[in-house]
């Protein structure tokens, strides 16, 4: 038990914050928990969760990707344009994922193989993709989408369930793989110490390369699942998405320097930051405070981390003093 508490210390503190928030909302504004509201809240945050899954991998491997918002916009528009050509929706899905994966592969090549710093590379991509898109679409929305586009032509309630199931499945697959597959553990190893990983015979550049491809693929899935919720697609979606995703990952307890973090933590982080906005409305607080409060939560997460670290360290040495007779 002690080790579980220790290993998941950061996740636990984020979960405690989420629980506290929900309790406050439950007391002051129980109508928050109306099924319709909860459903909206969850569906609204699933695209962010998918991006955050990829971002967790990227941060675990010791990198960062701030180009995801722009990739998201490209994938969204691509989804609409492809659907309008009459391509069947499953193929649109695959194609958008590939487009995302290709953009990720470009990042991965520059960062993994050519060893360029990820913050600079993805900053360049952030600007490049967004401006390229603006130039091509001239700011216009993609309209006149085919019948089977919105909600996959299944209607809102079934469509929402499909979105939910796909997201859940991806989350489960990644959470399980990261913990139980050897390749999942090499992601941690590379992020923990790339040189040590190299000496242990791990092909670090390749691991980084693939993590960025996965990131891009998830951006594609996220963009499509987001786009099908509406009847038209704006040319400028996904602005600020990278910050949302990074914040969720960090609040969920991942170390920004790599090597430490879990997807459960990221899920809690997305839930916490995603709930705040809606909760504020229900608590009668001006929603303009949302960003400020999110910022405060990020700082609080880091601070509690440090404080808990102290406590736990004291406990441990206590143990050390009594169990090391020699």
């Amino acid at each position: 038990m002690a080790t579980i508490g220790k290993t998941y210390r950061r996740e636990i503190s984020a979960a405690a914050a989420l629980a506290a928030l929900l309790v406050i909302v439950a007391i002051i504004a129980p109508s928050f928990f109306a099924p319709g509201n909860l459903r909206d809240l969850i569906v609204n945050n699933l695209p962010t969760l998918l991006i955050a899954i990829g971002m967790t991998l990227v941060i675990l491997v010791g990198q960062i990707d701030i180009s995801v918002g722009s990739q998201f916009a490209v994938c969204s528009v691509a989804a609409g344009v492809l659907a309008k050509t009459g391509l069947p929706m499953p193929l649109v899905f695959v194609a958008v994922m590939l487009i995302g994966g290709l953009m990720g592969a470009l990042n991965g090549t520059l960062i993994g193989w050519m060893k360029l710093p990820s913050i600079i590379v993805t900053l360049a991509m952030l600007v490049m993709w967004r401006d390229a898109l603006r130039w091509i679409t001239e700011g216009a929305w993609v309209q006149g989408l085919p019948e089977n586009f919105q909600w996959f032509g299944l209607g809102q309630s079934t469509g929402e369930i499909v979105i939910f199931m796909i997201s859940l499945l991806l989350f489960a697959v990644f959470a399980w793989s990261l913990r139980n597959l050897i390749v999942g553990r090499t992601v941690y190893a590379v992020g923990s110490d790339a040189e040590a990983a190299r000496l242990a015979g791990i092909n670090s550049p390749n691991v980084v390369f693939w993590v960025f491809i996965i990131m891009g693929g998830l951006v594609g899935v996220s963009a499509l699942l987001n786009a099908i919720r509406f009847s038209a697609i704006p040319g400028n979606s996904g602005v600020g998405l990278e910050l949302k995703a990074i914040a969720a990952v960090v609040v969920g307890g991942a170390a920004i320097t790599g090597g430490r973090g879990t997807l459960i933590g990221t899920l809690i982080g997305v839930a916490l930051l995603g709930t705040i906005g809606t909760a504020l409305t229900f608590l009668g607080i001006n929603p303009f405070w949302e960003k400020a409060i999110q910022g405060a939560i990020i700082l609080a997460a880091l601070a509690s981390d440090v404080a808990l670290g102290r406590l736990e360290k004291n406990g441990r040495s206590d143990l050390a003093a009594t169990t090391s007779p020699a």
Binding site: T3, R179, N180, L181, I182, V183, G184, R185, T186, Y188, A189, G191, S192, D193, E195, A196, A197, R198, L199, A200, G201, I202, N203, A255, G259, R260, K313, N314, R316, S317, D318, A320, A321, S324, P325, A326
Partner: protein, 495 residues
């Protein structure tokens, strides 16, 4: 039978020849020692063998077949395992995972981790070398010798045919070294070829079959270990003779400079420590891994808060909440883990040396860079730091030369109390003698010195008194005249 062969290897870094036409041959079932001064090219040679460094020219042959496109992954798959001089553990991961990673060569993307087996395997390997470390501990929490032991366990786990050990005993105590030697002998009996690098020349006759000497990147000579004395070895390494005697001189003892009374810290796991050091005195601390030696030093220096007892400097009670306060009181501490705490790898050698004395080097007119250069030049010369320029980054130095830089930083602070944690780890014999001489000079100037060392001969040779720690407290204090290796060992073991 030749197992592994390095044939005319050359490697240079920006004009510095790390290896020049070096050749080396390892037989199956032998322990082959590799010796040479700091910067002679030992680590570079073994890195070339494992593919961690790609030589400019020359080839590596395993069983007579040339290894092409060498890399750590490839050499590993061919059965070559290595412990590098700089610990290469993953700080965020557990001990069990550190031992397992890179070894579960399943190959497929969908290979699964067996957590129970990992833990079991880690436990077996750690038990084999007698290391009491929990497989579930996070590597970042391990002390330097513990990291070393985990590295050894990991290398054993590879079940390699060639095992390379680059200074495995640099921070290990006598007891751990003995366990390691037992395992090395077992492996030798089963036909494993081992390359063993060490600056502790006195341990070589007990473990090595042959020895190869490297000097300035060249392999000078290979001998049967039984045919050479350590004196001859030194002669071959350094190119001149060394006395081999510790430069210990009688220094009149002055007033009590530093004193601990009932000193302890729950966080550090130390308790009830009574200790005095007089001006001009060198007090040694012996003990096994985990006895609390480094923890004591850290607590004195303000890295861990004490919670019981008092600390006195020249009879006045002091409290130290932060290392900067210790430095202001002229208490200096050379940490054990040079890579993490001892040097700033990316900074130049000169800045590293003056880092703890910037206050004395800067004034109204900013930094006095001329003075910095003078100081750096003097210490690099005296300690024999092998480098083309003092403005090179410390990361370009060999391990032992990094250690000399870490030590220089604290020697220039003009301390009243100097705490040295493994000051000569990884340092070659010649420079070791120079460091001991410097310590003696400081003692003669009235500095109170506390030296932690896992090398008993060094403690016996240099210290006026030796305190032996066990279970977080001082078990026994020996005077120079009655201390012997056996007495210290049995006190350390708690007999």
């Amino acid at each position: 039978m030749t197992l592994l062969k390095a044939d005319h290897i050359t490697k240079s870094y920006a004009g510095v020849h790390a290896l020049r036409d070096a050749s080396f041959e390892l037989r199956a079932g032998e322990v082959h020692a590799l010796v040479g001064e700091n910067g002679a090219g030992k680590s570079t040679l073994i890195k070339a063998l494992t593919g961690a460094v790609i030589p400019d020219s020359g080839e590596i042959l395993l069983d007579g077949t040339r290894i092409t496109e060498n890399s750590p992954g490839i050499s590993k798959s061919l059965g070559i395992a290595a412990i590098y001089q700089q610990p290469a553990l993953f700080p965020e991961l557990t001990v069990a995972e550190n031992i397992a990673i890179g070894q579960e060569r399943d190959g497929s993307v969908f290979g699964m981790v067996n957590w129970a087996r990992r833990k079991q395997r880690a436990k077996e390997l750690l038990d084999r070398i007698g290391a009491r470390i929990s497989p579930e501990q996070i590597a970042a929490e391990l002390s330097m010798p513990q990291q070393q032991l985990v590295e050894i366990a990991r290398a054993l786990g590879a079940n390699a045919r060639v095992l390379v050990l680059d200074e495995p005993t640099a921070s290990l105590s006598e007891d751990d070294t003995r366990n390691l030697f037992r395992v090395i002998r077992e492996l030798r009996a089963s036909g494993v070829g081992m390359i063993y690098i060490s600056h502790r020349l006195e341990e070589l006759p007990a473990i090595a079959d042959r020895v190869t000497v490297l000097r300035d990147g060249q392999t000078i000579d290979t001998h049967e270990m039984a045919d050479v004395s350590s004196k001859q070895l030194i002669q071959l390494m350094v190119g001149r003779e060394l006395s081999g005697v510790f430069p210990k001189r009688e220094v009149p003892r002055g007033e009590v400079v530093f004193e601990l009374r009932g000193f302890g810290s729950r966080e550090a796991g130390i308790r009830g420590i009574d200790l005095t050091i007089r001006a001009g005195e060198i007090v040694g601390i012996a003990g096994l891994v985990g006895a609390g030696r480094t923890e004591l030093a850290k607590t004195i220096f303000g890295l861990v808060p004490p919670d019981t007892g008092v600390m006195l400097l020249r009879g006045k009670q002091i409290t130290i909440g932060h290392p900067s306060e210790a430095i202001d009181l002229h208490i200096s501490y050379l940490p054990e883990d040079r890579r993490r705490h001892g040097v700033v790898l990316d900074l130049p050698i000169s800045s590293n040396i003056t880092l703890a004395s910037l206050k004395h080097l800067s004034g109204f007119k900013g930094m006095n860079f001329r003075k910095e250069k003078e100081i750096a030049a003097e210490y690099t010369r005296r300690l024999g730091v092998k480098t083309p320029a003092i403005y090179n980054a410390v990361s370009t130095l060999s391990g032992g030369n990094q250690q000399k830089v870490a030590l220089s930083r604290w020697l220039v602070t003009q301390p009243a109390v100097l705490i040295l944690d493994e000051p000569t780890q990884g340092v070659d014999v010649g420079s070791k003698a120079e460091i001991h001489e410097l310590m003696m000079e400081l003692a003669e100037q009235g500095v109170a010195i506390l030296m932690i060392s896992s090398e008993l001969p060094e403690l016996l040779g240099m210290c006026d008194r030796i305190a032996v720690m066990n279970g977080g407290t001082i078990a026994k204090v020996f005077d120079r005249t009655d201390a012997t290796q056996d007495l210290i060992l049995s006190a350390a073991l708690g007999h």
